[in-house]
């Protein structure tokens, strides 16, 4: 057992070395932050990019090395100290009874190591939501959130032919397509009435449903799972449904969403509400702790969003933009969130790109070019476009992202004609006097 020890004080301790934590460190160096930075990661890997885990990595199109964010030389040259395998259990601010309001304190890792800091940032992300039905601990019931999860799944690929994916969200469908592409029989069981119900509208859900069924993935909506079947040796053999039927599977992948890791923030006494509540400068309720990425519940950053509307975004783009805001905040600049939120998901031959946020939409326009296999749905709040789901149509995606970024509109009545490019009908908003 290692002896508990105290590290020397760091200027900024970033807890969490995934997309948001990494970006915060990088952006701080770009904004002239000169103090020492310590970037703490819980996993025993160099900081890596997660999105490919369910896609290119699982499909063996890229290897681990391709997922690494930065070379060791980069971190060394920028005076950013990386610590792997460090799990912080407690963060104490204002140590030794001093009533310090400057944000300093100490973080304590599970091995007892203490990390004193002048400022702290929580970039602790979210974890896969666990399924709570009988048999959930059987061998072969797996999750896909981390590199270790993906490596473990890859190591099992030779051991099964029938896979069930529980959850028809992005991770579930990406993994289902990857497994199907590798020759597995794949069934997707979705509890809700449609696919990706939390992130896309009905038209897009339906498009994905038809497309994936056509390629041979069995998809069951409104599915009620009651437990996992044991093969007699502690391994999963299938998923039992409410009607008593069993879907055969030697591998069950659970993709039912994530839970924000709020435990440290709770213990620090920060305000929590579906994540850690932050202001528009990524500051938590104590006024000094920075919170960025998936774990942060922030004011809706879209131009024109109703006052007080809040959102917690789980995306690479948000992790990056939010971290930039935080970097400014830490260097004394109050910048607004830049850019338009966007998201992507690649599922077999479907390349989905989402621009904007559908929050609060009241009508849609569908553009479907069946001949070219292009499909997009534009979302409107009143007369104003606020978002678009674009499948295999980067031109539409780019047009909407650009229009949103420049505070322009794409009139709904003209947008339905697929022969018209969205760029050509984009108009500036009338400035009200």
């Amino acid at each position: 057992m290692s002896t508990p020890r105290t590290r020397s004080e760091t200027g900024l301790l970033i807890i969490g070395a995934s997309q948001a934590g990494v970006q915060l460190a990088i952006s701080l160096r770009g904004t002239g932050f000169g103090e020492h930075i310590t970037l703490l990661g819980e996993e025993n890997h160099r900081p890596y990019q997660r999105p490919a885990l369910s896609k290119e990595f699982l499909q063996d199109k890229v290897d681990k090395e391709n997922l690494i964010f930065r070379s060791q030389e980069y971190w060394d040259e920028h005076n950013i100290e990386l610590v792997k395998g460090a799990r912080i259990q407690e963060v104490r601010k204002g140590t030794d009874g001093e009533n310090r309001q400057d944000g300093s304190g100490v973080a304590v890792a599970s091995d007892g190591t203490e990390y004193p800091f002048r400022r702290v940032a929580l970039a602790v992300g979210a974890r896969a939501r666990k399924i709570e039905i009988p048999g959930a601990d059987l061998d072969g019931v797996v999750y896909l959130r981390s590199a270790d999860d993906a490596l473990a799944l890859k190591a099992r690929l030779g051991d099964f032919q029938d896979a069930v994916v529980i959850g028809g969200g992005f991770i579930g469908l990406e993994a289902a397509c990857s497994l199907h592409g590798l020759g597995k029989n794949v069934t997707v069981l979705e509890y809700g009435p449609r696919l990706v119900g939390r992130a896309v509208g009905e038209e897009t859900s339906e498009y994905f449903l038809q497309s994936h069924r056509k390629r041979g993935i069995d998809i069951q909506l409104d599915s009620r799972m009651t437990g996992f079947v044991d093969n007699g040796n502690g391994k999963v053999a299938g998923v039992q449904l409410e009607d008593g039927s069993v879907v055969k599977a030697q591998l069950v992948l659970i993709g039912i969403g994530v839970v924000p890791n709020t435990e440290l923030a709770e213990q620090m006494g920060l305000e929590i509400d579906n994540g850690v509540v932050v202001d528009k400068h990524a500051l938590a309720s104590d006024g000094t702790t920075i919170v960025v990425g998936d774990v942060a519940n922030m004011p809706n950053p879209l131009p024109g969003a109703p006052e007080g509307e809040r959102i917690r975004l789980e995306s690479v783009n948000n992790a990056i933009e939010h971290a930039k805001i935080a970097a400014y905040s830490l260097t004394g600049r109050q910048e607004e969130y830049a850019g338009i939120p966007w998201f992507w998901s690649n599922q077999a031959d479907l390349k989905l790109q989402i621009a904007g946020l559908t929050l609060g939409y009241d009508s849609t326009v569908v553009r479907h070019d069946t001949e070219k296999g292009k499909f997009s749905v534009l979302y409107y709040r009143g007369e104003q476009i606020i978002a678009a789901d674009c499948v295999n149509t980067p031109l539409d995606f780019m047009a909407v992202r650009t229009a949103l970024g420049k505070n322009q509109n794409i009139p709904a009545d003209l947008a339905a004609d697929v022969s018209v490019s969205l760029k050509s009908i984009t108009v500036d908003l009338e400035v009200t006097a």
Binding site: I26, G30, Q49, P51, A52, K55, E56, V62, N66, L67, I68, F69, R70, S71, E73, Y74, E77, H78, V316, N317, I320, A338, G339, W342, W344, N346, K351, Q353, T393, P394, L395, F397, M398, A399, R401, T402, K423
Partner: protein, 106 residues
Amino acid sequence: MPVIHYTDHDGKTVDINAKTGDSVMETAVRNGVDGIVAECGGSLSCATCHVFVREDQLGELPEMEEMEDEMLYGTSVDREENSRLSCQIKVTEDMDLYVTTPETQT
């Protein structure tokens, strides 16, 4: 060893020893070359790894596919004849490639 030369908008050049098989984007990002963002990590979804390839070298590169071509219409700085997305350019054995990065990617 293949070498990629990245010149930024202000004319400053860095030369990076690259690994065959990596993309020109990955080579830049891993070594902290400013001017290439690559939010999507190379899955051809974001158009933030836009580069201008030195004209006389364009022909040495494999032609772009339709998806890359469409994505290039959405870059932050408008595309030119010699525009490419650097995630789609694979480093080859004796590559000695000169690219310029745009003023901004987002």
